[in-house]
Amino acid sequence: MSARMESSNLIKKKICLLGSFGVGKTSLVRRFVFDEFKDNYLSTIGVKVTEKIVAPVLDSNHKPIQYKFLIWDIEGHDKFNTMIRNYYLGASGGIFVADLTRPESVQTLKKTIAVFQEINPRACLTLAANKRDLYEENSEESIKILRQIDNLKIHYLLTSAKTGYNVEKLFYYLANRL
């Protein structure tokens, strides 16, 4: 069990954010932790760990429990060498991020999910279909992308780091199921 009780009864959990470059992983963390959004794009190199104490939730015995998330914002990558796999080690949760305007960002997730699950078979997973503010919900193209996401067969939410849409819900989905 990769959790250690702190004196304040907070339980630490490592949560990894994974997905192709430019899908908005850093923006989702920034929105969730600092409630801010920056329009400029800066590629993440390696990994950046940000801490956030989340509001108490009820565990499976209906007792209140409070987590401190160590959120691993991992650089977008298409290859899975040992260096990348090391980032995944010991994670309790995985948030896979797709860009609703880029179908290829969904295609690469299939492999990412498989590798992550192989390393962390008991981790709780969810998917953020991000940039909802940009995608045209009326277009055929959007439907195709959402259908691809649906085919990945994991829980997903449409999100927008820009507007904050569903961002809290995404992280609390994990908090309620860890």
């Binding site: 800066l42 590629s43 190199i45 990994v47 950046k48 090391n86 045209e136 277009s139 193209e141 259908r147």
Partner: protein, 451 residues
């Protein structure tokens, strides 16, 4: 590891710590203390001192036992302050010393990481920009749904207009007919699609702000102009400026806009320097402009300048069977959004959709289907599940003003609050319920100081 190796690593700037098999720090050098900071006194466990090590307990046990020789975390970044980032390589090596079988090395690799970032940044930015432009074209062209003659004609016209650079276009049509979408299709289908598509809703912004937004200003141009700001005209240079609800533009600003359209030159507020701009202007309105001219609310010369090419977007009620096609499309969209498996409409529901006059057009149709999908528990939407939000508006003639009169602004405020309540605080949904654009709703929320 002998003392000489230790010294070399310390001189090279490595943070170094020896750990027991259960990850307790036994000894460390001063550079390590610098990376550990204040946490060093809080706990003897490495994962509590170097937060990035948390979760690695099992893999570290393998390194301590010799099952694995090493474990490396590359380019772990830490924010020092707002502008500075530190990148570290954190490595663990197996030592044959049983009392301290783990060696932790921390190396500052900021310079090489920043160089890598620079190269990757350029590569990603190029990819993202290329992609954005291509996707927008694909997305938007497939968004003008329908096979009815009016829609086919619109697609044909838009295809032709997109090929003519910088031609001014006037989009006419009722609210909710997709004027904004048509403007984007024109822009993203044209050769200047890599340049900006800049839009502003003339009804959503107060007169004085609209002028500074459009023209920009120099520092000191007015009381709160603490620094210079380029206007939307500059941002749209080389691309498209979309002025929505142009009929609501104040007369004084209309004459300034006309001047820009004729001379292709303008000045920022508070500046004497003229700048040249080239953009395609697309204006849109749901008003009868000739009537506004006769009322003295719109300049005739601007109207003729805008009316070079005009496109009338058809109301939904004139699109015949396309109503069902678009409604079916919304079912697919909301099936995925709400994770439902609605297959379509019953025959009676289809008839109801075709008979309705759709005063709110596609926006109203989207609303209607969304609401039906939320409450529907069967795989076919039934007649009774289709509720037309505009019905209450159609009944407006029955509303009676009390003899004591009303406070119109208070009524408007209450309607906005009610729409927000009905949409659980979702501003886009609330705007749809009120038949407003998001920008207009945002302006009114600020006006009434609704948080």
């Amino acid at each position: 590891m002998n003392n000489t190796c230790e010294e070399i690593l310390t001189i090279q700037g490595y943070g170094l710590a020896y750990l027991s098999a259960d990850r307790i720090i036994i000894s460390h050098n001063s550079t390590f203390s610098g990376f550990a900071g204040q946490h060093l006194d809080e706990s003897p466990f490495i994962e509590n001192i170097i937060p990035e090590v948390f979760g690695l307990e099992k893999p570290l046990a393998k390194v301590a036992s010799g099952e694995e020789k090493y474990l490396i975390l590359e380019n772990v970044s830490r924010q020092i302050d707002e502008s500075r980032e530190l990148f570290l390589n954190i490595s663990f090596f197996h030592l044959s010393d049983q009392s301290r079988p783990l060696l932790c090395l921390i190396q500052d690799v900021t310079n090489s990481a920043l160089q890598k970032q620079k190269i990757i940044q350029q590569k990603h930015e190029i990819n993202l920009l290329k992609h954005l432009s291509e996707t927008r074209k694909k997305f938007l062209s497939s968004s003008l749904l329908g096979n009815s003659p009016p829609i086919k004609e619109i697609r044909r016209l838009i295809g032709k207009i997109a090929l003519i650079p910088n031609s001014t276009v006037l989009l006419l049509g009722e609210s909710g007919t997709g004027k904004n979408l048509a403007a984007q299709v024109i822009h993203y289908g044209s050769r200047s699609s890599d340049a900006n598509f800049v839009e502003i809703n003339c009804a959503a912004i107060p007169e004085n702000l609209l002028e500074s937004e459009l023209f920009g200003y120099e520092k000191g141009a007015f009381t709160h102009a603490i620094k210079s700001k380029p206007g939307l005209l500059e941002e749209a240079n080389g691309g498209t400026l979309f002025l929505d609800e142009i009929a609501e533009m104040p007369l004084t600003l209309q004459s300034k806009l006309l001047s820009v359209l004729e001379s292709r030159r303008f000045r920022r507020l508070g500046s004497n320097r003229e700048q040249e701009v080239h953009f395609r202007l697309i204006a849109a309105t749901n008003r009868n402009l000739p009537q506004r001219i006769s009322e003295g609310k719109f300049r005739e010369d601007l109207y003729y300048r805008l009316n070079v090419i005009s496109i009338e977007l058809p109301p939904l009620r004139k699109m015949g069977q396309d109503i069902l096609l678009i409604a079916g499309h919304f079912i697919e969209v909301f099936n995925l959004e709400f994770k439902k498996e609605v297959q379509g409409f019953t025959a009676a529901a289809r008839q109801k959709l075709l008979k309705h006059t759709w005063p709110g057009n596609v926006r109203e149709l989207s609303n209607c289907i969304e609401r039906a999908m939320i409450f529907s528990e069967k795989n076919m939407i039934e007649e009774g599940e289709l509720v037309f939000s505009k019905e209450s508006v159609n009944l407006s003639s029955r509303w009676q003003i009390p003899a004591t009169g009303i406070d119109l602004e208070e009524v408007e405020k209450q309607l906005i609050l009610s729409a927000l309540e009905n949409s659980n605080g979702n501003k886009s949904q609330a705007a749809r319920l009120l038949g407003l654009s998001r920008d207009t709703l945002r302006y009114r929320l600020e006006k009434y100081q609704i948080d």
